[in-house]
């Protein structure tokens, strides 16, 4: 078993806003091992980005209440002081963001922004930092890096900017890369390129990756393990195969059912999850998915625990029995979920 890098325990993040308290993350726990690719899946407002940013200490603000524990190699990050956090950021854990168009500072050269990260942590000369930057740009597949290093972000295409962001993330050779919707703002072919790049980095550098996305296609392509989040909670977690071939939570069924698949007739309507995601200002009592769940029953007014019910390391938050789930999932194929695995 490879080394546990990151261990998140019962993470709770609340924001005080003018409208009330937003329970953005509500008791999230997970582990990340070296070299692993973990996908956190969920729709907007499910708390996946806040979870990721909290790991990096980026959600710290006077109106945020953060509880629980985030430990990196045994070091607690939630209570770490600014200086310790600075060392972890970039050097141990790096993060790339959703929108590469706005995530780079428009007034500095791309190379300078990457070099800045290097020089903030290591006492390198300008010349050396520049050389490293060029190497990094080459490593992430920027053509003609010794020239491109002097370009401004607006001279890069969207895909190149995301590559530059990844290069910046890799600059200090971190062990964990958190990618917050790294391909969402890009078009499909570029998406695939960026994912392939992440995959390659994961393989070649043994880089652990947390990839945050709402796109199950992305998950299928790259992830080893999957967390499905809904309304600030993890509602199902398991290996890629477990989640895709044996999903336990009705919400996961809904997500999978809404995928367009080439093996289905084109005329078939995609299923949809009715209703709206829960407001995190006043989340529904009990299971957060209850108001939208076609299978909800009286027990669902209490919060189901995240428990292992079917396989090893495959946990879900649903009161339905395993047998019930099996029948419901198959019967409702056309409407929600997907057929049983073609074993």
């Amino acid at each position: 078993m490879s080394e546990q890098l990151l261990s998140v325990r019962d993470l709770r993040v609340r924001f005080t806003t003018e409208d009330g308290i937003v329970h953005a993350v509500d008791g999230v726990s997970f582990d990340l091992a070296a070299g692993e690719v973990l996908a956190i899946v969920g729709e907007s407002g499910s708390g996946k980005s806040v979870t990721a940013q909290t790991i990096m200490g980026l959600t710290r603000s006077p109106n945020a209440r953060i509880e629980g524990s985030v430990a990196y190699r045994g070091r607690e990050l939630l209570t770490a002081d600014d200086e310790e956090l600075m060392r972890v950021r970039g050097e141990e854990i790096a993060m790339i963001f959703q929108d590469p168009m706005t995530s780079l500072n428009p007034v500095y050269k791309v190379g300078d922004q990457i070099g800045e990260a290097i020089q903030a942590h290591r006492h390198e000369s300008d010349h050396k930092a520049r050389e490293q930057t060029i190497e990094l740009l080459a490593a992430v597949g920027i053509p003609d890096p010794s020239k491109r290093v002097d370009n401004y972000p607006h001279e890069y295409s969207g895909g190149m900017r995301q590559r530059a962001m990844i290069a910046m993330g890799l600059a200090l050779e971190p062990t964990v890369l958190i990618a917050d919707e790294p391909s969402t703002a890009l078009d499909v072919t570029i998406q695939a390129q960026i994912l392939r790049l992440l995959e390659q980095l994961n393989r070649d550098r043994d880089l652990a990756v947390i990839i945050i996305t709402h796109d199950l296609g992305v998950v299928a392509e790259i992830a080893d393990r999957v967390l499905v989040m809904y309304g600030g909670r993890i509602i199902e977690s398991g290996s890629l195969e477990q989640i895709f071939y044996d999903p336990q939570h009705p919400y996961t069924w809904g997500l999978l059912g809404s995928l367009a698949r080439p093996d289905r007739p084109r005329t078939m309507r995609l299923s949809q999850i009715t209703g709206q995601p829960p407001s995190l200002l006043a989340p529904p009592a009990g299971c957060h998915f209850r108001p939208r769940c076609p299978h909800a029953f009286d027990r669902c007014t209490r919060v189901p625990p995240l428990e292992t019910r079917v396989g090893e390391n495959h946990a879900d938050r649903c009161w339905l029995s395993v047998e019930q789930k099996k029948t419901l999932r198959v019967v409702k194929t056309g409407e929600i979920g997907l057929e049983a695995p073609a074993a």
Binding site: D82, M101, T102, S103, N105, V107, H154
Partner: protein, 319 residues
């Protein structure tokens, strides 16, 4: 770049022309503006008036008068109607004083505005921010003539800390120069310090929410580096625009009140006297002088802008 500069130059000429026409026309329609009668003075008679009108060309049609005047502007022969002194020389005499006043005040106002705005933004919502907000509002609301008078009253006569008036040239004695100009500098700068620090504060608060600031934090920069390198730099762009416009305006007439209060015989004081005497040539001269600086600094701002923001420099669209 050459095209850009040419375009700005043409624009400058057009603006200056339009302003000169406007000043000329306004002068000719305001009551009591008849220059012949003014030159003629109290013991005027018809013969004298006719003579004066003929000598000065006041009987010519307005376009002809305008052309004559502009010719004089360009040859440096413009002469005041009331004092008969050469306008060019008078303006030149005032320039060192006005420049000393305006440049000094500008340095003070930018320095304080950046420090106050930065502190305000960093401590947003806290005590420092609130105190600076109040200070800024007081500064903005304080009329220059009032502030100047108060400073004069308390710091030169009640407590004799500063000299009451006068100007010592920089070349003859730099210390006395700064000493004499200190109160005028403060008087002129206070309004702008208040205003600019507010603008900078709100810009910085906006920029702090930008994604690239989060990126900067995520790569492990110190909060200070993030603020100065990423937040402040990007927040300065609109402030620079304002500064260019305001600095041009201050040199081109914005310092008139300050110069009058502190009896500094700069260009502003000269303009004030000309206005009191309804004396067209100096008014025309000073207005064109001021307009030139406003337009000039405007162009300078555009160039600085390009330096600060590469997206403009290269002429490609943003994002």
């Amino acid at each position: 770049m050459a095209r850009f500069v040419t375009r700005r130059l043409v624009g400058m000429v057009v603006v200056l022309f339009a302003i000169s026409v406007l000043v000329f026309l306004i002068f000719n329609v305001i009551p009591g503006g008849d220059p012949g009668k003014r030159i003629c003075g109290k013991n005027c008679n018809n013969a004298l008036l006719t003579q004066i009108n003929k000598d000065w060309g006041f009987n010519d049609s307005l376009p002809v008068q305008y052309v004559t005047m502009m010719k004089k502007v360009f040859t440096g022969e413009l002469v005041s109607y009331s004092s008969q002194l050469n306008v060019d020389q008078q303006i030149k005499k005032g320039i060192p004083i006005t420049f000393s006043l305006c440049i000094g005040a500008a340095v003070i106002w930018m320095a304080f505005a950046i420090v106050f705005g930065y502190l305000s933004a960093v401590k947003a919502g806290g005590f420092t921010d609130r105190a600076l907000t109040i200070l800024a509002l007081v500064g903005i609301s304080m009329p220059v003539f009032f502030l100047g008078a108060i400073l004069l009253l308390y710091l030169t006569s009640k407590i004799q800390l500063f000299p009451t008036a006068g100007y010592v040239s920089l070349t003859s004695d730099p210390v006395q120069w700064a000493y004499h100009l200190f109160l005028p500098w403060i008087t002129l700068a206070v309004l702008f310090v208040g205003f600019y620090s507010r603008v900078l504060r709100s810009n910085m608060l906006d920029v702090m929410n930008e994604d690239y600031v989060r990126t900067a934090r995520a790569k492990g920069l110190s909060e200070r580096q993030v603020r100065i390198h990423h937040v402040l730099r990007n927040s300065m762009i609109p402030v620079i625009t304002l500064f260019g416009l305001d600095f041009g305006a201050v040199i081109g007439g914005g310092a008139i009140i300050t110069e009058s209060i502190f009896s500094l015989n700069g260009v502003g004081q000269y303009a004030a006297d000309a206005i009191t005497n309804v004396d067209l040539p100096p008014i025309m001269g000073v207005t064109l002088f001021g307009a030139f600086f406003i337009v000039f600094f405007n162009a300078l701002v555009d160039i600085t802008y390009a330096w600060l923001d590469p997206r403009i420099r290269l002429g490609t669209e943003a994002r």
